[in-house]
């Protein structure tokens, strides 16, 4: 298999039927909206464009780079597709990619496909769009702005989608929330940096070679306020929901807690915020939410810092 399986494609067997069906319905609704939006604005020229771009995203996932030892990072592409094609076309393109991965390559399940589409093609695109549009106001259209926006949108899309994966697994009862959420969030905070750097590299190349492609969305999309708030809303909702779920994992954890296993499992040496609970706040749920948000801000800050230093050395060079 050429496309390394990221822990983002949920296989069949890991989701309850209820979760699968609900997520299928949600995905079908959003895809229907996307098709309706595109039918109005799509020119006949955009159809081959979307097909070939889907192929490029697929093939682009082959481009990998060594991270450490045997592990390697590669592109998922939701943010890049959103910035280059506009949000609705990106939803269709990413749906095509995720659907083909499941149907043809067994990368992600068929019953789980609705969920995978929702995570990668809908959350991924909406969050990218929201982040990109918000930052566009502050950062402008120069190279540095484009690079920071690309990085933040890519990182955010991966990170928030991974929270959704963790929550879906937790609701299905396949992975306890208090372990799934921190683990998925932690891994994807790192994977997101790889995605961000590749997206940033791709955008700076396109900025140099075909600047016109980056000027306000292609495939006939103007800035859409509802979509922007939808994307940011999903991000904030998941950032709040997942630590909540993590604080109240479904029942039965006392068995493990009795034996002191969870404390051992949950106390990694590098944790800055002990047990995902913020010290000094008495209500556990609120403290967990605050801890989650602070965690997200810290990682986002680091990510932005990296992007900034990168773009600074870039402009010097």
């Amino acid at each position: 298999m050429l496309f390394s399986a990221t822990p983002m494609h949920i296989p069949d067997g890991f989701l309850s039927v209820l979760v699968s069906v609900v997520m299928w319905i949600a995905s079908v609704i959003v895809i229907a909206v996307a098709i309706r939006q595109l039918n109005g604005s799509l020119s006949e020229k955009d159809i081959p464009l979307m097909g070939v771009m889907a192929a490029a995203i697929f093939a682009g996932q082959m481009l990998n780079f060594t991270v450490v030892g045997g592990t390697s990072g590669h592109l998922l592409g939701a943010a890049l597709a959103t910035i280059l094609l506009g949000p609705w076309a990106a939803v269709i393109v990413m749906t095509t990619v995720v659907g083909t991965q499941a149907l043809i390559f067994q990368d992600g399940g068929l019953l789980a496909l609705g969920t995978n589409i929702f995570n990668m093609a809908i959350i991924g695109v909406f969050v990218s769009y929201g982040v990109d549009q918000i930052l566009r106001r502050w950062l402008g259209e120069d190279l540095k702005g484009v690079m920071i926006r690309g990085f933040a949108a890519a990182w955010g899309s991966i990170f928030i989608a991974s929270l959704a994966v963790a929550l879906e697994l937790a609701i299905s009862g396949t992975s306890p929330a208090n372990i799934a959420v921190p683990t998925m969030a932690g891994i994807h905070a790192l994977i997101g940096i790889g995605e961000g750097l590749i997206t940033l590299g791709a955008l700076s190349f396109i900025f140099a070679a075909r600047h016109d492609l980056l000027k306000t969305g292609n495939a006939g999309t103007k800035s859409q306020k509802g979509l922007l708030f939808g994307g940011l809303g999903i991000a904030v909702l998941l950032a709040i929901l997942s630590p909540l779920a993590s604080a109240y994992p479904d029942g039965l954890e006392w068995v493990a807690e009795q034996k002191g296993f969870l404390e051992a499992a949950q106390d990694p040496a590098y944790s800055i915020i002990p047990d995902y609970v913020f010290p000094g706040i008495s209500n556990e749920a609120i403290a967990t939410i605050v801890a989650g948000i602070v965690g997200v801000l810290v990682v986002l800050g680091i990510a932005l810092l990296v992007a900034r230093t990168r773009s600074r050395t870039e402009t010097k060079a």
């Binding site: 298999m1 050429l2 399986a5 822990p7 296989p11 069949d12 067997g13 039927v17 098709i35 006949e44 020229k45 159809i47 081959p48 464009l49 979307m50 097909g51 070939v52 771009m53 889907a54 192929a55 697929f58 093939a59 682009g60 082959m62 481009l63 990998n64 780079f65 990072g73 590669h74 592109l75 280059l84 083909t100 149907l103 043809i104 390559f105 067994q106 990368d107 399940g109 068929l110 019953l111 396949t174 306890p176 750097l197 590749i198 590299g201 700076s204 190349f205 396109i206 070679a209 075909r210 492609l213 068995v255 493990a256 034996k259 002191g260 296993f261 051992a264 499992a265 990296v306 990168r310």
Partner: protein, 268 residues
Amino acid sequence: MSDAARLLDPYQPHVSLLHDLDARVKLALAVGFILITALCPPGAWPAYVLLLTITISGALLSQLGLGYVMKRSLLALPFILAAVPLLFTTAGNTWLSFPFFGTTANISDAGVVRVASIALKSWLSVQAAVLLAATTTIQDLLAALRAYHLPRLLAVTVALMWRYLFVMSDEALRMLRARTARSGHLAGRKTGGRLTWRARVTGGMAGSLFLRSFERSEAIYHAMVSRGYDGEIRTLPTRRLSQNEIWLMIGGSIVLSMILLIGIMTGG
């Protein structure tokens, strides 16, 4: 056949009953199989064995060979890591305990049942999906999806994507080869630059791949227009399912429902 096509296309050309079966029937049965597998409660071992019998029969009927199907179906298993914590957090009688960083970790019997069930169900579902993909060409699969009312825009995007996937994949493989050819290795010296630099270079390659796709899509559009493309994609009408095929689907759903019943009766 291009490099990428050999690596990518899971379709295995053989002459077999399963290959000859209409894609609509295969798709419905595969999805039904996966749905029933998902609905089976944990620990329903007899039902799992019956489901496994179906996939094994499929593997033999399809001329693919058991080895091929089993090997490909193991791909999704690393995901089982996500369920491993259940071994410890599920309530039940202690099945095994071992020292873990100064404390003892207890694996409960119920936890083992749950994790083993998830792994088995996932494996069974992937086998069904492998059988479908290996015995059906994407053109047939797309026609079947269209018959089940997949929106035209999606179908056309998938068809075009598949048409150019190998072209773009070959492009990506060439880029990777070019990068390897220009990257030196010296024994005992650190090579490859910094991580962020490597990621940026990969990004540049991805950007270049995207740009070539943009330009290629324009050429494709011009070629399509030159042959009379007007925004409408026309396909042959699909034939109606035969009586036998409909009976096969009905029979399949009855068998699957009975397996589910057995699963509900035997599962915990």
